[in-house]
Subunit: 293 residues, 2 copies
């Protein structure tokens, strides 16, 4: 089978052997935003036509390709959901010469009835749940996800808009004036994480990044790292309070996951790291539930 993670800005395709081994792969910039209306079949054939010509008959797609802006919308599936439920909710799309299905995103509601959604991360979580017992996962990013895994299924999750809030607040507030780009400053980052655990609230703590600088207690080259620690620290404090987690399975690419690992450690939470590229394994597991693998 072929598994593809087709996101907003990139396409990652995996040719998968019977045990889930990746026998070939490609990684390109052609995200769904580059595909014109009605252009998905041609774009898919252009990307993996070689593998199809070589005998592959089944293609499983996850990511934003299943959103309203994608090929067709694969409606969000309600948690708890594991590979069986997700496989049953995949959406077939017409494609000549192969069976093509879209993986749905997941939705959940918190105790106050407010919905949350993910699309793409569910496939990584399927792979992670398969190798762990009950666990609390954290996937840092523009929209960080904290997910509770139990017996192969995603039971519940919450999204934190941390990465996007960092970008907006560091570039489009008064903090931009007294901060300069530069190398990561670990000590300033740790001060931000510690600040997040104090009372006063995030909106007050943000202003501290300015006043500390005014009082010559934070350098311009430290402001971004302090702010990063502050926001990641607030995410962790809120998520830890909600989940009661004392150990977290951390999934993510190097630089950002390094920051989260450090912030979690500073917050007294044990961290286990997992390689970021879990998507191929997740697509294979869902394919297994479809009888494809």
């Amino acid at each position: 089978m072929i598994g593809i993670d087709w996101g907003t800005t990139s396409l990652r395709a995996y040719r998968l052997g019977p045990e889930g081994a990746v026998t070939d792969r490609l990684d390109r910039a052609g995200g769904i935003l580059t595909v014109a209306e009605g252009g998905f079949p041609a774009a898919l054939r252009e990307a993996v036509g070689r593998w199809l010509a070589d005998g592959e008959k089944r293609v499983l797609l996850c990511g934003m390709v299943g959103s309203r802006q994608g090929w067709v919308e694969a409606p969000y599936l309600r948690c708890p959901a594991g590979p069986a439920e997700i496989a049953a909710a995949t959406v077939p799309v017409p494609f000549e010469g192969a069976e093509v299905r879209l993986v749905p995103g997941l939705t959940t509601e918190d105790r106050d009835g407010i919905p949350d959604v993910m699309r793409g991360e569910e496939t990584k979580l399927v792979a992670l749940a398969n190798r762990l017992d009950d666990a609390q996962a954290c996937l840092p990013g523009t929209h960080s996800k904290w997910a509770r895994l139990e017996a192969d299924r995603v039971v519940h999750f919450t999204t934190h808009m941390t990465g996007e809030a960092f970008a907006a607040l560091s570039q489009h507030t008064i903090l931009a004036r007294t901060s300069t780009e530069g190398p990561h400053r670990p000590e300033a980052f740790a001060r931000g994480v510690a600040r997040a655990r104090q009372p006063g609230g995030l909106l007050h703590h943000l202003f501290g990044a300015r006043t500390l600088h005014l009082m010559d207690r934070l350098e311009q080259t430290e402001t971004r790292s302090f702010l990063s620690g502050l926001l990641i620290g607030h995410e962790i404090a809120a998520a830890a309070a909600e989940t009661g987690a004392t150990q977290v399975e951390l999934v993510g690419a190097e630089t950002l996951a390094d920051l989260y690992a450090e912030a979690l450690r500073l917050s007294g939470i044990t961290v286990r790291r997992h390689e970021p590229d879990l998507v191929a394994a997740g697509l294979h597991h869902i394919g297994g539930s479809l009888g494809w693998a």
Copy 2:
């Protein structure tokens, strides 16, 4: 005496009679950012030369004119501070034909040793403290101030970067894509305020503005009001937890102060409104401590 609130983008001048009555006033756009280096004496004469020619001999300036970017820096004065301490810390500047002094801003530290600052608001608070017994004041704005007043003095305060965070998050994140400008939506605002009192943290709550829209539970025309309620609600929840305040003296211009009044009411806090233009009275009180009034 002449009292002037000279901020970043505007200049408001008051000619004050012996009892503090405003006998003449002017309000113009010439904020300190429009004044070239060394140009403050000429700019002051240009603004109030007519009153000086008419016999005024004393000018008290407050606001960003006393910042590093202003005429000269009037260093932040440590709390607790009232009109006597502030008057003693005013900074004289050379000016031919009149005595001119700059009001200092105030600084405080929270229990964790993180500094906070205000510049301009201290003058309004001096006026407010003069008419009240012990009180908790809230001055909404780009950088909202919560100040504890006791026996004529500002004892402690905290700043919340609420207005600026609202601008950055509403315009420079994914929330901008699903929100449209339009009239205030009171029901969506109230939902945001209520959401702020639930667990999960601000960074999670922000994402809810997106998911509620995705699930057709928040209209595009409601998103900004929801987000406004969410941020103001978080500010109030944090400040109320810190101060224990059950009654707040609210100082501010109509539209924004109306929102805060509603959010405070929804949060179970009693509100007393005060006219935003307390600066003239504050300058007169500080002038009194200088023996000028």
